[in-house]
Symmetry: none
Subunit: 230 residues, 4 copies
DNA sequence: AATGAATGAGGTTTCATTCAT
DNA sequence: TATGAATGAAACCTCATTCAT
């Protein structure tokens, strides 16, 4: 229940880095946010950059571990991919800020730490790509450029950190369901006839119980355009 | 053929902002890049931030104008959407750096200019959304959450600025073709039988003549993992 | 007895602003004067301009409070005016530098703070004007343009910051006495006859005990002409 | 009737130096004001500081020559002093800006030129002081500290550059008349009886024909407090 | 654990002046 | 005469970090 100072610091930093950006956030800002003086902060961190690294590293590690677990499941690859998409979306929804920092501020790291993060990112994408290839081998997917497919999926899902609003109209599960539907079956109306029968039900999405009444997706009283794009 | 100093400055800034980030790029860096002293740079720019704004504004304006032109074409909406995706991808491919700055550095702007950009971005996404809705009304697309669909498409296409490599294996047209295929028909193998006949040919993509021989997509001599992800 | 750093900074700034002028004084100059590095100075000030504002504001506030106290005394207005003149002169004599900055550098302030100072100045002058009007109503002064009279008195007294020399021949009290005499009775020899009897003794000036022997008013070793004028 | 470029430059500089101050006025500002580019300005000036010097020097020289002419007149000293006060006030009224620069910006000059100006100033004041002494010797003035008296008069008259408004309620002649009255006879009501008869009429002021109807002294539409003080 | 003082490097921007064209 | 490019010095200010208390 009661958080350590170190955790407070990290949370404050996450919020500030997300909101203002790493470079635009000063150590003073962080100190202010946790009610410490600038000097005292250095009891809890070694440097601003290491704080950034820790945040990003923690984030990507969690994503990778989760994806590895999913990839190891004894299920058809297509189903595992659906699970992966859902997990990714739910994770971004649950911890948008850290993920946004990972996406946006990795570049601020020094070459060394930066490479470590980039390798992890690369590994993450590669796991996705492998799922796609497996699904194709299993006959569930048509042959595609699996690299490109993984990049399309990742792009769509990662982009979410720019528009997801927890107060918004859609729950993460619904988003996941729809994204999976799009990536699996596309937007085009299936041809008439027996086609629907052939369509595999989308797996990995949970029945949409608890669906909230349709409400404006945009948080009330906000004055910013939503959702942003491109 | 000989470039103005102003243009040199802008190009240098684009390259640096893209590579190091806006905040990490000093005016000194830009001056060095064009062979001027720091002070001399101010003959060509009003401020570092205005330079950033100009770059971003120019970029988004071009995107918007292009999309408006496409949206106004006398064609089925699905076809116009395919054209839009292709145009977007080709534009990102052709001018990756400016687009990356637009995506990554808009936040560095002051509230006023920033809002102008964000409104334009929002408008761009909305145009896409409208195409999707029209395509659904025309019966080409199944009913979907058009907002979500537009965000999926945009996310996938925008993400491209993080991985596209002009020396890479795939030409923009091929990327566009495959992305369109995914967003229109999904990854799943079409059911056996007459289904393929029912599949609308993807419009807006050009026959893949000029396809280069398969070659490593990753630029030679680079030491960074590729493609990055997520 | 030992002064805070903040006080040292303010005093150094007062001296430098007075001597070289606000614009010609660099933050470096102030830092040098107190033995700090430029950056360290910003522990004690928010900005150079705010430092200027604080100096000026403090000065004018003290003047206003003092004048208000005098104006509220239960005495004939003429006597209160004499006190006001004396107090003003003694204050300028005691803290010439701050007053000189107030007079000469208010213009360097941004419009907002500047207006605050100018309103206070205006209020100060208005208090003087009211004393003159009251003295006229009480029959002590002949009817005059009280605005003009207040400006004449203020001009003469304010000008003092340009020529007053604490090492000089005259003590502030003597200056005050003579100025009051001039403003009350003028330079012209009173007409012969009963006139002296009719002349009200100047109040608010103290008997000139402690008058120093006549000595050169000009500080020794100075190479500047003295007193300056106009 | 058609002004040389050089004159235009000087006038623009006078106006700007007065309004914004010497240091706050850039060469660019001056160039803008005369419709030239910064570089072109240097065909007409040698340096910004010399421009300042020329303005100040010209001003003080005119004042000195005028005062010398007045001091040489075959009249009683008191009358010459009255003329001097009137001339000073009318000059300030007619060319407030240059005079304000002389008063406020002499300090911005380098030591050499600065000393020249200060010596001239000193000479000016000394001429006034001599008139006062002569008037005392002639029996018109009571014995006073002539230095102090000259400083009082100068202060009051010089201060005028801070409050004089050509659109204001009072004409320069009226101001001069009232100031002379104050300095000659003071503010105090003359004793009853034959006293007024003994009062020498103030000389050097012109009959107040052409006096404008009493109107607010403050320029219309101005939002600044007036007159300023102290 | 907490602080406040201090630092030094670096940030963006301004500006008077020169000079080739 | 006029210009636009260029300069170099200096301006104010920020900030991550260290350290004695």
């Amino acid at each position: 229940m009661h958080e350590t100072r170190k955790e407070q610091v990290i949370e404050a930093a996450i919020h500030l880095f997300r909101t203002k950006g790493y470079h635009a956030t000063s150590v003073q800002d962080i100190a202010d946010a946790v009610g410490l003086r600038k000097g005292s902060l250095y009891h809890y961190i070694t440097s601003k950059e290491e704080l950034l690294f820790d945040i990003i590293h923690e984030t990507i590690q969690v994503y990778i571990r989760r994806l590895e677990a999913i990839a190891a499941r004894p299920e058809p690859a297509a189903q595992r991919l659906a699970r992966a998409i859902t997990a990714h979306i739910e994770a971004v929804a649950q911890e948008t800020e850290g993920f946004a920092i990972f996406i946006g501020e990795t570049r601020a790291l020094e070459p060394g730490p930066r490479r470590r993060i980039e390798e992890a990112s690369q590994r993450y994408r590669h796991l996705l790509q492998q799922l796609i290839e497996e699904a194709a081998q299993e006959g569930a997917f048509r042959p595609t450029d699996s690299t490109l497919a993984s990049l399309a999926i990742l792009g769509a899902c990662n982009w979410m950190h720019r528009w997801y609003d927890p107060q918004g109209r859609l729950r993460p599960q619904e988003i996941a369901q729809q994204f999976t539907e799009i990536f699996f079956h596309g937007l085009v109306h299936p041809p008439a006839g027996p086609a629907p029968a052939g369509r595999a039900p989308v797996v990995g999405t949970v029945p949409a119980e608890g669906r909230r009444p349709p409400s404006p997706n945009h948080p009330p009283h906000s004055e910013e355009p939503w959702p942003p794009g491109p």
